[in-house]
Amino acid sequence: MSIKIRYFASLKDYIGRSEDEIIYNEVLTVTEVWQQATQNKVKPQNTLVSVNMDYVNWDEPVNDRDEVAFFPPVTGG
């Protein structure tokens, strides 16, 4: 299972990079993807997550070739 991970805005600064990729044998939840990709970094409050560009909850399972993104509350408009 190959999972692409992206970080945006202040979360990109916090993690220090904009992308990760992790290869894994079992199905992970979004929370586990965060832990693996960031090496258990503390997750900032209010962090949002999407899978394939749709908002999801933190217990959502992630499938092979999914794109997972982590970002702070949006501030557009």
């Binding site: 945006f8 970002f71 949006v74 501030t75 557009g76 408009g77």
Partner: protein
Amino acid sequence: MPVIIKNTPFLPYQVLQDYEETTLGQNNAIGACNIFIGTMRDFNEGDQIKVLTLEHYPGMTEKQLDKIIAEAHQQWALIDSLIVHRVGDLLPNDPIVLVATWSSHRGDAFDACRFIMENLKSKAPFWKKERLINEQERWVISNTKGYLNT
């Protein structure tokens, strides 16, 4: 129901005029149009802002905006709608966002335009970073509340 993300400045009235002339055409069922234009202020949280940088998540931004527009068209009797949003570096007074809704009666145009803006503000993945006059940079933490009396 176009959704346009632009990385260069745009003129809202020019965009609207062009859109009505070339795409909407002479639609005589239209009786109401509501338009929202958001522009860059040069002050925020007591500090003077020199440059505002707007980041987005290409693909997801469009997907979320399309979804918001589809919901608006389901909920109200809209003839058409339009969203234009800037990304990149903006200067004070630059337009950030344009939302327009066209309908036969005013209630639909007003309510749908408001709905689109409030949802855009809370769901569309855009992030603002401010550069102050002392060159300090900071991310905007959260958007202000939209509905004043709720």
